[in-house]
Structure formats: structure tokens, C-alpha cells
Symmetry: C2
Subunit: 473 residues, 2 copies
Amino acid sequence: MTPEEFRRSAHELVDWIADYRSNIENMPVRAQVEPGDVRNALPSQAPQQGEPFASVVSDLDKIVVPGITQVQHPMHYGWFPSNASLASVLGDITCAGLGTLGISWESCPSLTEVEEVVCDWLRQLTGLSEQWEGTIHDTASTACMTALLIARERTSNFSENSGGLQSEVKPLIVYTTSEVHSSVQKAALLAGFGADNVRSIAIDAISRQMSATALQDQIRLDIENQCAPCCVIASAGTTGVTAFDPVDEIADVLEDTTIWLHVDAAMSGTAMLLPECRHLWHGVERADSVSWNPHKWMGTILDCSLFYVKDPEHLIRVMSTNPSYLRSTVDGEVTQYRDWGIPLGRRFRALKLWFHLRLDGVDAIKQRIRRDLDNALWLVNAVEAEQDWCIVAPVTLQTVCIRHQPQNMNGEALDQHTLNWVDRINQSGAAFMSPSKLDERWMVRVSIGVESTERHHVERLWRVIRTTAHECL
Amino acid sequence: MTPEEFRRSAHELVDWIADYRSNIENMPVRAQVEPGDVRNALPSQAPQQGEPFASVVSDLDKIVVPGITQVQHPMHYGWFPSNASLASVLGDITCAGLGTLGISWESCPSLTEVEEVVCDWLRQLTGLSEQWEGTIHDTASTACMTALLIARERTSNFSENSGGLQSEVKPLIVYTTSEVHSSVQKAALLAGFGADNVRSIAIDAISRQMSATALQDQIRLDIENQCAPCCVIASAGTTGVTAFDPVDEIADVLEDTTIWLHVDAAMSGTAMLLPECRHLWHGVERADSVSWNPHKWMGTILDCSLFYVKDPEHLIRVMSTNPSYLRSTVDGEVTQYRDWGIPLGRRFRALKLWFHLRLDGVDAIKQRIRRDLDNALWLVNAVEAEQDWCIVAPVTLQTVCIRHQPQNMNGEALDQHTLNWVDRINQSGAAFMSPSKLDERWMVRVSIGVESTERHHVERLWRVIRTTAHECL
């Protein structure tokens, strides 16, 4: 395809995208397809001859769009806000258009240095001190895995350079809670620690925060039992109910040890743009690594997860490669981000952050986040004012966990009722929420924070919820 | 930013991108900036107020573009072809515009099912049988790491569910050669095997292929020494000189063992679109996993690495997570690609493959690959016809490894001469190539295959090379 053919098609595509984004509110939130519908609508073989652009766009409309759950829809309250602000989309389009290659500083100095700059912008905007340096990973899953790998190598004194984890005499132990994101357990298993060596530390029954005392007791016990405490993963905002582990108290426990402290703020890191929220991760300066995802609530399109460390030399020593074919004349003077993560080849992801922050501006982003906090508060008050409805976990930020609990209904019947009403709403396409388990009982998470969600949408949601729950009785 | 504001800016951006791509041949190939130039040109803090789109575009021109090494330039012969075909760019723009979220089938059925379809298209196009199922990873580094993780868990009988790799009594061993990509060693270390347990199997001095006999001897020795052979990484096209390890002979050695065989065809997998090249990875059907990158020579914009396995159930068992908040009503009926790799959140990467194959068509892509093979052959003949020039490794596909070897020059002096002439060309911006070491001596890799590289560009390169090398004497 020539640049002129591209120009014509891309202009059509831009209009198609702008129309699509304008029209999202008229679509059902949840994809209205059955398993296999999309696959079966597509040919089983690739075309030998090129097809006209119009055919592809027509298939986008007919086949692809009906199979999308509209996370940009103002009535999407599922999982977490996965905002793709249009300012950041322009940055991502630029990334695609430039077609750069990030395998070394030399392969694209701009890719490296814009990333250095925007990571530092976000460092300042979230109140982190100058002792932190950051990079962009695809997801918090990968960032957490990286944290566990560099923790493992610190505790094992770089076993990777000799016999590996399998040569360790004392089992290396990871500490976390039942509330951490599923990716933490997965990362610990993939990093080789083994499920038996992942400790689930007791949490407070109400706040669902890790108990620093229980952590201390467990570490002491593990040392007595000839284990090697290695890493604590603290959640700054759990996925389930947005609980914040007490980072400062945990850091007290870890004082004078070499145990790594990683703070996973994947969803809630966005709140740290607001000075009034920073008390929630008080003590973060004492951690070894922190990650959070602008691709969630802040609204920089996926994939964009920030990973900060205080000791990049250690990170690089664990993750580096330096084969001769990547040699360049400036080695030693520049940042080689390939040594800050798992993949060698990297996209120019910094552009979407750069466009987002520059085109929207920090003030507008902060204002929107405060709007979402206000909307959550409104919903809390509405739920609490209504008979038979309850808020089942403390609301820290923008996630409101609710249950409709008619008198005399409990146990399995209550679970069934909860799933009934939420599935009915989700299936209708009118709104979308994620049911989740809390103490083995289903509840419904209302995660507020889509860029286009205004107060009237939350009010509408509350009407839909009450009506549907009553219809399901 | 509203959809209408986006529409206006995106149209401007499309024209900017089309102009940029039209103009690449007029730019220097290598970025003409010094370390820090880009960083120092940018403000140290994010703007509080949004800026006009024109300011950002102006900075793209003034700051970002001079800091890009133009891998889409027809005179780029460095590292490997990192093609970003404009058809695939349209797919990537669509991915950005849709702003979808891939964390489960339910979060975007189209994302999952288009990926199933295009992975199967590419399976057929590369001659793999129906026993393979594929997914898209970011890079071959990640694919290789995944292969090592699932191999580790097979050999250790799912140690991740108990004591982890650290509980293994026998050291698990990985087999590869000195020629494999640097990411393989990195992945083995990150997966916890340890450098002592990565065996570098002897290679043939000329072809640089792994010796199957030496592999067999080493495996036997390791078993005698109470080690547990775990995984062989065979290169189908090494980075240095495009050597192909003898997959079929290796599979013979592994017959009746449970040792995992991963075939890394990152760069050269593209050649398998041509039936006449498939003898090069003969035996691939006997492997356990295969990966290759359409984002290299084939030209689907980065990041797009295909990873195929024959036993997805095993892969899923190692990599899966299933927390309650990801529950959906169709679990069990659909593919959950989060369980096929490390990250939970995934972009709609299948779109760029889908657009690329549909808009360009398979025939045109194959024709371009054959053109590149012809161009490499032309260069080989030209080099061989010239006094004092030599081809230093067998040319299997499109990478031609050359050296200017004036009479009586050798050792350090020859190395210095090689680096002198290649660095002078690279610095000039006229062309770009990667120097690389072969048996501890520098040579120059000419990696042909940029989408826009025609015969006359290769002829021009050869003139520049000869002239510059003579000037450096």
C-alpha cells in the first residue's frame, strides 16, 4: 500500500472512528454475540488477492463491532474503567504511523527519551520523590512479575548467574493477601516460587487491609523454619473492594531486612494525581518498586503500565542482555529500556501518554477524577438510603460494592438473586457491572470512572438496578 | 476531547503521517541526535492546561522525528526488517480507535475470535498442520519465555502448584547454542533455570547449526549426572547469520523423551510463507511449540509475535487464572487468551494482521519476500565477484554477512577497519547496517527486506560500501 492509498483509506477510517465513538452511547454495553458468532462469520482462509478497503470497513460494522463489549460506554461499570481518551488515541495513532522500532536507544532515541520524560512527569504528578525512575510495561501483570524476578535475584544473590532458583537451599517466600489481584499469584508461580511459598497474610475483616502484625509474625516463623523471606506485594487499591494495604506499617516490618516491597497500585494509582488521596499509599517512598496503570482510570489507552524502581542498576543487572549485534557507539551513555523488562522489541508507547497529558492537560484529568469520586459518593448515599440495600465494603475511591438483601433472604438464595439481577442487566445491554465474591458470597461491584460517565448516568444506573432487582424477586 | 475535536485533529494527523511516510527516503537512515538531545528539548513538567494540537505536531517535526532511526527507509539494512506495512498500520489505528479491552472473551468477543481466525490463517500459510493452535504475543522474547515456563512445568510435574522450581531435586536443563538470540539466555535466567543449567551445544563450524550428535551426548551426560533435561530451543534462522538448526534431527534425539522442543523462527518464520523455503525447518511438526514474528520481515507492524502450541491444555494449566471477578456466563465454551500468556489485559492486535492480509493479499506479500531473496542473491554475487571482499557465512535467506578483507590485514586491525567503514556509513545517514561478531571477529550484516527496498537500493548500497571501505584504508 502506497502512502497515497493509505491517506485516502485513513481519512475514511478516521471518520468511521469518530462516528463510532460518537455513537457508543446508543449501543448495548455488553457484546450481543454468542461464542463462535464472530469466528464463524469470517472466512477460514486468508485472501490471496488484496480486498478493497470498503470490504474491511463493512466487516468491521457487521462482524467486529457487535462483538465488542463497550468499555468506553458511559453505562459501563464493569471490572475497572478502561478509558481510551481520544487525546491518547491520537498518540497511539502516531505510534502506528511512525512505525518505529525500540530495541536499543540507537534504534529510536526519541522512543527512549520521550519515555524517560513522561515517566518523570507522572512521577512528579503522583508525588513520588526524585529517587524513583520509571519505564512503561504492557500491564501490571508484567510489572509485578518483573518485581518478583528482581526480588528473587536480590534475595538469592543473583542465583540466575549460577545454579538458578533451583539451586537455592532455603525456600524463597512471597507475602501477599487473599485480596491481591490474580496476576500476583500467577506471577509468583511463573517466577518459580511455587504455591507453597506464597503466604496469604491475614487481613482485617472490615477494611480488608493486610495486617502488618500478622506479616511480622509470619516472617519470623519463616525465618525460624529456615526459609528466606523475599518479597511483599502490597496492594494500593485491591481489585475486589479497593482496599489499601498499610504500606508504611509494612515498611516498618521490613525495616533492616532485605525483603523487597512492591506496591501494586494498578487501578488506584490514578488517584495519586490528587494530593488529597496520597495518604492512602503513605509510606510508598519506602518501597522498592511501584506500578500503576494510566490505561485504567486515568485514561491513556491500553497498554500503558508504569513501573518505578529506586535502584535501576539492580533491575538492569537482572534483566540485561548485550549481544554484539546490539552494540552501538553510545553504549553506557544512554538508557536501554530493553534491560528494564522482558521483551526486547518495544513500541513507542510514550507517545500516548505524551499526547494525553499535553492535549487534555493535567487540570482537566484531575477534575474528571474528582468528578468520579463525587459520583461514587452520590451512589453510596443513594444505596444507604434505600431499604434492603447495602454497601458491603468501605468505599475508598470510585468502586462501590453493593448487594440487594431482601429480608429473610440469605445463603445460596441470596447468591442466586444477586447473580440473577446483575446478569439480567448485563444481558440487556443497558449497563454492565461485575459480580464478585466477598467472603464467599456474591456481591456486585459498581466501578465508576468511564470518561463519559456523568452524574445522570449513575442516577440512571441506580434506577435500573433497583427496578431489575425487584423484578427478579 | 470530543469525537468532533478528535475528527479534526486525526484528519490532520493522517495527512502528517502520509507525508511523513512519503518522505522517508529523503531522511537520514540513522537518527542524527546525540544522547540527551530529545530529552533536553522537552519541558521537565507536564502542562497543567491542555495545549493546541498544532503544538504537539510541531514538536513531532522538530524534536521527535530527528530522533528516529528510520527502519522503514529503503536503505535500512540493520538488525532485521522491522516493516510496518501501511495496510497493517490501518489495522493498528483501528485497534486504537476502538479502545477495546481484552481481559476475557466476554470483555471483547471479537478480539478473541478474530485472533483465533488470523492465527489459523497464518498456520495454514506457513504449512503447519491442524494440530497447532496459536496466539499473539508481543515479542519472540516473551514467546520463548512462555515456552520455557511451560517446559519447566512439564518436566517438574507442575512444581508451581507446590514447592516451585526451588523444590526440584534434579537441576532442570535447557539446551541451545551460542548462536541463539540473546533473549533465549535471558528468558532461561528469568525462568529460574540458572546460567549453569543452560547448555551451549556445539555447532557446525561452517553452517553454524546445532549438532544433533553433540546434543544427544550432552543429554546422556546430564542424565548420568542426575540432571533433568527439560527443553531444547532450536533456532530456525539465527540472528547472526540465519543458520537453521536441524529440527528433524533434534526431534529424533528427543523421540521417546518428555524434553520440550521449542522452535524460534522469530525473523525467518516469514520465509515459511514460501513452500520452497519450508525444507529449512523440516521436522517442525514434531516440536512442542513454535514462534515467529510477522512484525519483522512479513511487515505487520510491531508488536505481533505468533506463538503456536500443540497442547493448549498444558499451556493453559500452567498460565491460567480464574478469579471470581472475571467469571462470565460462557466460561468453558470460549478461548480465554489471558491464560495463553503473561499479561491479563490485551490489545486487539489481531486487527493489524487481519487488515494486512486482507488489504495486501497473500500473493503480494509472497511476491515481495521472493523479491528480497533475489536481492540478497544479487548482493552475494556482487560481493563474491569483487577482490578483497568476502561472504563470511552461508546465505540462507535475506541476510548477507560480509567483510572487506584487504590483503595482509587481519586480527585487531581488520576489526578496526570493519567497524570504521560501517560506522562511517551509519553515521552519514546514507544507509544503516549492523556490525556483529562471528567467531570473535567483527563482520557486517546486511539484512535485506524493508518493504520499500528495491534492487536499485541494494545496488546503491553496494556502491556506498565499496567506496567507504576504500576511503577508510
